[in-house]
Symmetry: C2
Subunit: 218 residues, 2 copies
DNA sequence: CGCGTTCGTTAGAAGTTATAACTCGACGAA
DNA sequence: TTCGTCGAGTTATAACTTCTAACGAACGCG
């Protein structure tokens, strides 16, 4: 992180402008969504005119890619901080929800509707598996239950994505359901699909979490 | 459906052009996503120039709204056909996955990342609750299990969204988890988040479904 | 047969991303 | 200190987009 430490004053200025651009981009994304991000508007806000931004980012796609990377990095760091403070599965779930609610568009930037043409850079998948590793660690601490399912038998032969993590198939399964179930509730909530339905999404989230952790605190 | 039956030849022509516009829009959405939908490109494909489309749709938003409505209508009709052929919860789940995989962008148009400014028209929420009613019917046929959870106690007092459906809170809960869990797997699969992980998403979907229906066919 | 409604056109305004060419300032070396 | 180079920001321009306005022409109804 600190290896990029301000050689020349020019590079320092350049880095500062780049982070200001990113900051304005985040503000704009939070209010109008990623699809409405306008380089022109950012430039105007910063007091300089359109094409100046191309000195700092090759184009709209490159800026968005940087924001995606930053979002992944933020989630991974948040997870790491939580798990270093001893967060278990429930703690990670709570952390995830907090992180998502803090900036829904940032969540959607990672887990939302993909743009057909766009391909995420390679390093994001590295961060993604870093996140998955922490989920796996937390899930490994849960008590085992039930006989092996068909899907777990399948996972025993397809565990490349675990990146060498020494978890039994049941734990792999639990990590995947942790991901998909919490994402299911969270994404629908953030998309506003529950508005007007009357119930409290937090309680549905808690119910799913309770089911994941063994259903004792239901 | 047939009440809009061709009064004057002009209206017939008008309706035909409208459906052709929608058809081209669907093709374009399927390949490039909803955000890349271009009225100009549609007009050019149809051999007429830009502003002509404004005779048929008030603008981009109005066209997309129509597509959203059509997507909802398609899902509801597909569900209705399945449930009239005696589909149970597993049948509905299978139907949902088939429908989503047939055109992922259509699924995302309904359940994907929302555009902050945009508000869905009222009739879509009507279709949405029509869909939910069928899920509730299917879930009511499942055997009951376990004691009442905290969330189900909460649902007992917040059941307006069920629109008068006479289902006990446990069934309401099951219908919601049917929705959120299947959406969790499905949306991540369609977004390509599982690509490169090696396992078969269909088996994860099946595992979630098995857990929903009582876990006997696991 | 005429006349009005409606369709499709071109022209244009106000946006967008992105490239090219130019000016000017700052920084480092002789 | 002077000079040369590099880079930041500028304007101009191209190629897009949505969308409005005004015009011509064709179609169909009375």
């Amino acid at each position: 992180m600190v290896n990029q430490e301000a050689k020349t004053p020019r590079e320092r200025y350049r880095a500062q402008v780049r982070t200001e651009i990113k900051q304005r981009a985040w503000e704009q994304i939070a209010t109008a969504g990623a699809s409405a991000l306008s380089l022109n508007a950012i430039a105007k806000q910063m007091g300089m005119s359109g094409p100046a931004l191309y000195r700092y980012y090759g184009g709209r796609d490159e800026l968005i890619t940087e924001l995606v990377r930053e979002a992944y990095r933020s989630l991974a760091d948040t997870f790491r901080a939580a798990s270093q403070e001893g967060a278990d599965v429930a703690g990670l779930a709570h952390t995830l929800r907090e992180w998502a609610l803090r900036d829904p568009q940032r969540y959607f930037l990672i887990y939302g509707t993909p743009v057909p043409g766009y391909h995420a850079p390679d390093d994001t998948t590295a961060i993604s598996s870093e996140i998955m590793a922490m989920i796996l660690d937390a899930c490994a601490a849960l008590p085992a239950d039930g006989p092996e399912t068909r899907f777990e038998a399948h996972l025993a032969g397809h565990r490349d994505w675990a990146a060498g993590h020494p978890a039994p198939p049941a734990v792999l399964h639990r990590a995947l359901t942790f991901w998909t179930r919490l994402h299911g509730v969270l994404s629908l909530e953030l998309a506003g699909q529950f508005t007007g339905m009357g119930f409290d999404p937090a309680l549905l989230y808690a119910a799913e979490l309770a089911d994941l952790t063994g259903a004792s605190t239901n």
